[in-house]
């Protein structure tokens, strides 16, 4: 098993820059998520780690060894492709044993290993079937079998559940996570689904337009987004932004929105100018006595909670409140914000301002 380190990795396709300058570290045994919207360079990053694509510049280390220019076959990793890429001219058993046969393992040992893997994945009964007629889930299992049969240093998976139905995804993602916990193999998993990333990952890298926006454990990324992009990409509904012109001094603990003072975590650097006041919907409370006011535009019932959309002087804001709260469209109401959860962003660069609360989290890998 292995630690993987990416340093200043860049990838250009001709004039197009797909990955700008990524740096992060995947620790041994971690279930690591590469998360980002379509076209942000997740697959490209993963393929460079696997050796299917050569980086334009930068270094990739597997267990301390620089492998950037090494061919895939020498990196001792396994890759699960989005469409599984099972060899159509071989049956299930042959597919799984294929990586072993490349190492010249004796027949009896291959058979023993394949049977063992089939047992783990629960596909013993289909070993002799052609892969053509398999269901999505079974294809997925065969692809996994082919990956784990070799005991590689790491598993790379490119949207491995992307081809499955929604209800089956849930089940497979649990199976995958259980498999990982059992084998404790370093796993790098690409997805554009933030929920999947939050549920399954030990750590997440969030990418956008070829740039690593943030890198850390799911809870930190959710609570303390490093950029407005991360704040909006993660969470449903996403973080609210109240835009304002104002200032906060070094060590300051409040900002003025329309002359109403709101408490925030203690600022480290201070700032002056256009800013955004970021707050997650679940940290907004409706409180008629509060000074900061809003008008209810819409409500959305979600069972135990409801999402209330309000119009304020600084833009629309969504609040997640209990369904039992009586809220009517058109009501004027006051809003309070849990001051411990607030992140201030520089409105121009989108970067979060450092505060006592998020300081440790914003450091990049």
């Amino acid at each position: 098993m292995a630690q993987i380190r990416i340093e200043n990795v860049r990838k250009d396709f001709g004039a197009f820059n797909a990955v700008k300058s990524s740096t992060f570290t995947i620790e041994d045994g971690e279930f690591f998520m590469l998360l980002g919207p379509s076209g942000c360079g997740k697959t490209t990053t993963l393929r460079m780690m696997a050796g299917l694509e050569l980086p334009t510049s930068g270094e990739i280390y597997i267990d301390g060894e620089e492998v950037g220019m090494k061919p895939a076959s020498q990196r001792d990793i396994a890759f699960v492709f989005q469409m599984f890429a099972l060899y159509p001219h071989m049956n299930v058993g042959k597919n799984i044993s294929y990586p072993l046969r490349s190492q010249g393992m004796p027949k009896a040992a291959v058979k023993k290993k394949v049977d063992e893997i089939a047992e783990i994945l629960g596909i013993t009964d289909i070993l002799n079937k052609p892969v053509g007629g398999l269901s999505g889930g079974d294809r997925q299992r065969v692809a996994l079998g082919r990956a784990i049969v070799r005991d590689p240093k790491a598993f790379f998976m490119d949207e491995p559940l992307g081809a499955l139905d929604a209800e089956f995804r849930e089940h497979m993602s649990e199976e995958l996570r259980a498999l990982h916990d059992r084998m404790n193999a370093t796993t790098v998993y690409v997805t554009h689904d933030q929920l999947e990333a939050m549920q399954m990952g030990d750590k997440i890298v969030v990418m956008n337009h070829g740039v690593v926006e943030q890198f850390g454990v799911p809870q930190d990324i959710y609570d303390w987004p490093a950029t407005k992009f991360v704040a909006q990409f993660i969470g449903s509904p996403p973080m609210n932004f109240l835009d304002f012109q104002g200032m906060i001094g070094k060590g300051g603990t409040e900002v003025q929105l329309n002359d109403i003072a709101l408490n925030v975590p203690q600022s480290i650097d201070g700032a002056n100018g256009a800013m955004s006041f970021g707050i997650r919907p679940e940290h907004v409370r409706l409180d008629d006595s509060a000074a900061y006011r809003g008008r209810v535009k819409a409500t959305e019932y979600l069972g135990t909670t409801q999402i209330v959309t309000l119009e304020t002087a600084n833009g629309d804001i969504k609040a997640r409140v209990a369904s039992s709260d009586k809220v009517n469209v058109g009501d004027q109401t006051g809003l309070t914000f849990d001051p411990r959860t607030i992140t201030l962003f520089d409105a121009d660069t989108g970067a979060a301002l450092r505060s006592q609360a998020n300081e440790g989290v914003l450091i990049h890998g």
């Binding site: 895939a72 492709f81 469409m83 890429a85 990586p99 082919r146």
Partner: protein, 312 residues
Amino acid sequence: MSFSVTEPTKGTKWFAGILVIGYACITLVPLLWIIATGFKSPADSIAYPPVVVFEPTLEGYVNLFTERTRATPDMLEAAGEPDTWYDAIVQERGTVISGPSRYGERFLNSVIIGFGSTFLCMVLGTMAAYAFSRFKVPLKDDLLFFILSTRMMPPIAVAIPIFLMFRNLGLNDTHLGMILLYTAVNLSLSVWLLKGFIDEIPIEYEEAALIDGYTRFQAFYKVVLPQAATGIASTAIFCLIFAWNEYAFAVLLTSGTAQTAPPFIPTIIGTSGKDWPAVAAGATIFLVPVMVFTILLRKHLLRGITFGAVRK
């Protein structure tokens, strides 16, 4: 009965069936006529009105494979009872066998040159098509167009330069020369066809093999080749049919050692009168290898001709 968009109605089915059968009859009649003529006597073969029912004889086949000389009655007397059934057939015509004909050799030449060039064409074509499909080849589009452009003029237009070139290189009337020539002519078609087939094979299969510890070349022949089998088979049939039937170059460039069957068959007429049954017998036997090859590969061919539309 319910109406369906995809399922043809009974009437349509009948109509299509009749059309196909009618077309098959039209194309098969000349073929059947040739096969029948091979078993006719010379008189039956030129009878007018043409005879459809006749007494079959192997005379055409015997004449095809033998050289005969006219014998005087004394010579026939001296020869006594014929030793074999084919001696009997020729003696009935007042001739005796003086030796084997050239047909066997020519047929063998056709086999060597036809299958040899097809094989070479497949080896080179598959590798070139793979490179065009998978690698960044500088000037790829121009090269592909150039390759195709070699097919744009009728091959015989370059006959004279090729004749001179072959003479200088000592390739005239050699098996190697003909194999190279047919390979060169067929290569453009096979590169283009095969590139289409290989483009259809998702690149993930090779990448999976690369990651599984195989080299690029192993990935090519263990993963790509088996999946391209359909395309390779149908392309091979096209190449073989061309090389097998080619006449113009064969007339021009071969005369003795490397002569193929197509230029030889017409000369059968000249050697002993209008021997149509022997010509027909030669043509019939000549048809067999391509037919067998095509039938053997027909499963691939049917899938291949739809150019990947069925696969996926």
